[in-house]
Symmetry: D2
Subunit: 325 residues, 4 copies
Amino acid sequence: MEKKINAGIVGGAGYGGGEMIRLLLNHPNVNISFVHSRSNAGNPLYAVHADLLGETELTFTGELSNDVDVIFLCLGHGEAKKFVEDNDIPANINIIDLSQDFRLGETAKGREFVYGLVEMNREKIAHAKNIANPGCFATAIQLGLLPLAKAGKLQEVHTTGITGSTGAGQSLQATSHFTWRANNVSTYKVLSHQHLKEIRRSLQLLQPSFGGEINFVPVRGDFPRGIWITSYLNSDLTLEEAQQLYKDYYANHPFTHVSDKQIDLKQVVNTNKVLIQLEKVGNKLVIHSIEDNLVKGASGQAIQNMNIMYGLDETAGLKLKSIVF
Amino acid sequence: MEKKINAGIVGGAGYGGGEMIRLLLNHPNVNISFVHSRSNAGNPLYAVHADLLGETELTFTGELSNDVDVIFLCLGHGEAKKFVEDNDIPANINIIDLSQDFRLGETAKGREFVYGLVEMNREKIAHAKNIANPGCFATAIQLGLLPLAKAGKLQEVHTTGITGSTGAGQSLQATSHFTWRANNVSTYKVLSHQHLKEIRRSLQLLQPSFGGEINFVPVRGDFPRGIWITSYLNSDLTLEEAQQLYKDYYANHPFTHVSDKQIDLKQVVNTNKVLIQLEKVGNKLVIHSIEDNLVKGASGQAIQNMNIMYGLDETAGLKLKSIVF
Amino acid sequence: MEKKINAGIVGGAGYGGGEMIRLLLNHPNVNISFVHSRSNAGNPLYAVHADLLGETELTFTGELSNDVDVIFLCLGHGEAKKFVEDNDIPANINIIDLSQDFRLGETAKGREFVYGLVEMNREKIAHAKNIANPGCFATAIQLGLLPLAKAGKLQEVHTTGITGSTGAGQSLQATSHFTWRANNVSTYKVLSHQHLKEIRRSLQLLQPSFGGEINFVPVRGDFPRGIWITSYLNSDLTLEEAQQLYKDYYANHPFTHVSDKQIDLKQVVNTNKVLIQLEKVGNKLVIHSIEDNLVKGASGQAIQNMNIMYGLDETAGLKLKSIVF
Amino acid sequence: MEKKINAGIVGGAGYGGGEMIRLLLNHPNVNISFVHSRSNAGNPLYAVHADLLGETELTFTGELSNDVDVIFLCLGHGEAKKFVEDNDIPANINIIDLSQDFRLGETAKGREFVYGLVEMNREKIAHAKNIANPGCFATAIQLGLLPLAKAGKLQEVHTTGITGSTGAGQSLQATSHFTWRANNVSTYKVLSHQHLKEIRRSLQLLQPSFGGEINFVPVRGDFPRGIWITSYLNSDLTLEEAQQLYKDYYANHPFTHVSDKQIDLKQVVNTNKVLIQLEKVGNKLVIHSIEDNLVKGASGQAIQNMNIMYGLDETAGLKLKSIVF
């Protein structure tokens, strides 16, 4: 039997951390060395993540250990960079950061981070020491646009994104109060969402000439998990040409698939998959792309990155049963 | 034109207060004199109750006025009694209290309160100075049992009650976080809910011999509005006899109806109605009773009480369109 | 007391018909003369619309009567025109049609129909004999754009619309199966929704020069009632100028209001209101507009039209308590 | 590498069949030999189970094959028995039937079926040729009562059960219409649910003296997955004694756990687990038990049975990530 990868999780009490634990507990090649949470130190994991009752007797720790191969940082934006700066993490430990702190090329303590969008950067990821895991909206939007950018076909894009409530985390807010959010719709950060920066950065790497706007309307959906993206743009590609372009692009990517039929969000909820569906209406190409925001949009993608970094099967630990209903 | 009733609302920023405002704004015989809320004084009502935009330009006030006929107290449990004790409310002003502070015969400053369950106490209410408005669960459970109690047919009762999230008010709690509550079920205060006291009190008034238990399992439902009650007990009544008993009892009550068909909660959501359906299985009589917890279970019933106190049509201001879907 | 308007409802067993009944039952100036439904003739209304139990003992009829002032047609698209052609409805009876059959200037038996968007056509409606009631999406989208069109400021528009499941009616379909639709998102008729025709027709009446596209992405939401619209376009108006333009346009319209704060769908559910909120981001003007698809988007607007045709207060019978939660 | 178990699925187009496929696709010791569905023969599995896109290229077949070790019957009640009678299935092929056709000792073609409730019958299952997989409600209710029955402590029981909509399958019905079911509550088969027979049978096997009633109120919940059970009965056990009794009973059962804290349904959704929580109020013992109706209540339990029959780790293929949110 191969030696297992020893993994530490920092910020293990939040939604991202919890999903990290759930996935790693069942990963055939990983051993969870520690789950760090200062406020919950000493408590069993299931005291916070109640669904873990019966899964593990592990407890949270307030101490960091250097006896690990990789650390997953599941901290708030801004806190990840501070954590790297404040702690002496040996250089041989890999870091996979789920925050936005290192997605635009930022460094800390000399560490450089590869942007962990596998479907764009698989080779770089394979040789990376540190990974900046993409944002949830950014992942779904980019996967809907990468093939066009690579083909130099990108123009001004119009995008609607609808996100589940888990995207807002576990803090109690007026916009995540059940009474308010159930059966409700609202928008936020219209045309100004922070993920636009990392999206634009990736797209311009593939298509340096791209200068058009990405007009993004984020919507709060009244469901807990998942992100739905519909983008459209002017395009001279026929539907068949576009479908071929996308299928070719994703041919060797095990989690991203092009559907010939209409898709719906629950096809991917609780999985690491992204499904894409294309339509052509007049001169507009329409691209739908969907994911689970906590899996492919966060912790699942982090593990996908780890798998590639360590030369494992990209799907190890990520063959997940969808909730489907 | 008749003179309108001048009404003040104390605690106008909560769910009960908001529903009070919504209903009174459209009441043909009522003028809202003031809506009191210390923390929101000076703000328009729609700053807190956003759906009131376009309905009224009224603002919250931090001052009380004695130039009213009736005051609705929409305060937390314990606060209502304190409010009556701390303020010199002239004796000629009627008080309708929505808390549980006066439901068991408590008094304050010499004020006595009639228990405002119209379908049991209409005559007393007509002559009351002050009303203790029943609890939401208590209303639906009692309306399912009153005819039996009056007929001396009550025995040990087994009751399940499922409530919408509005029953927990607007404070942000873990059990009202959308991500947690959506698609979820849980129970609380099993067999020990505080409403059992007022329920037992009423039932024993009608059937003094009743000494059986009322076993009540309260369930948190994953919807915002409404209460579903299923009670059952041993009974020698046939279904037809029971239906006749209930129909006779409620014949003169405009808001309570016995359905011959299976009922579902959304038949009454956003109305002041209670629907009751009976089944007989073996020697057990099953009684389903449903209401909107914020209307018949709180503010609507408060207005129904006011209507009777002031000699108005009992349904004035309470002919509400159901949401139905 | 004034003589009441006698109203007949044709197609009374569907969602539109049911909502028509609910609203007219409480309308102070209307008497429901008949509710027509061939398949339900003889049954009480509450046999189909279960929430009407306790509201009315009216039954469906399979016969039409000419002893009415106005007929509301709540039939499927295509059936309304056929109904007018197949039945000899005396010329003095007004028709308000909720289908799309007469929205683009179509006629039948010599009857001409005024497009019943009050906020654009109030004068014409006041003198109309027959009304083509606007579509649900069309109402919300147009009310978000009318002030711009009137000011000649319209350009290519990008619109997302999210609709509740009631928009799909009561027929059992795969896309309205609870198990499928709960927590799900999907789109349909992307960039090709049939309401675009009536929208474009109205906008060009106000701004004949307008030739830009209206790019509309319709989304199936996982809630029963309501429509959320977000539109954006390039604009040289400042936010303040745009807000003033909209507030001026709607100053005399009792159901349409401009909010200075972020809006959410449940502010209008179960009411006849439309709320509009504006944002300016860079050179883009963003317009959010919301409605209840069954009320302002259908039956409520039909009554609003009737009120104006008959010289009543525009809000008669339409002062509705919002569900809010 | 061990030889894999070859499995056939009959009735693969329904909810039970789909969940069977999802689970077996990821089972390390199983090969899916065929998925039978007459109406879908020739179509890829993902044409019916859309979430399987990207998971498998298998197609439905209209032919049965005898080249399998085990057949899972995912047919409607009544159809399973007919299937066994109408087809010559070689005696060496094991059958695991998910219907209710063989749960009460029925036989067909000489085949006898062991009741597949692992937590009661593990030894018998290990030697069984055919399994009658328990009903969904029956599983959760029994797991809440087995330890009491084994200890001879069972008396008349009062049980409420709330089920997700998937329990009603994929056929389009009025009670599974999204518009109706969302935010709604209703009951069915009150005190007369068909699962009571198999429940009583099991309990009397463990406690032959038990003659009390099991009063069961089934409730339709407005969520897709999961079953919540609350049972209570008179008991002389203290809470500590009862907890010890339950923990001892389930000590060697990997999927059933006793929680010391309040439980909620989403702790187990999308897993094969059952969580149990006990309360003592006065002389009543309260037992909450929860499961995913499609996994532990159907297909997951079927695989658990197969694992035991074939001497595999009981949890093989059943280490599932919960949806949790």
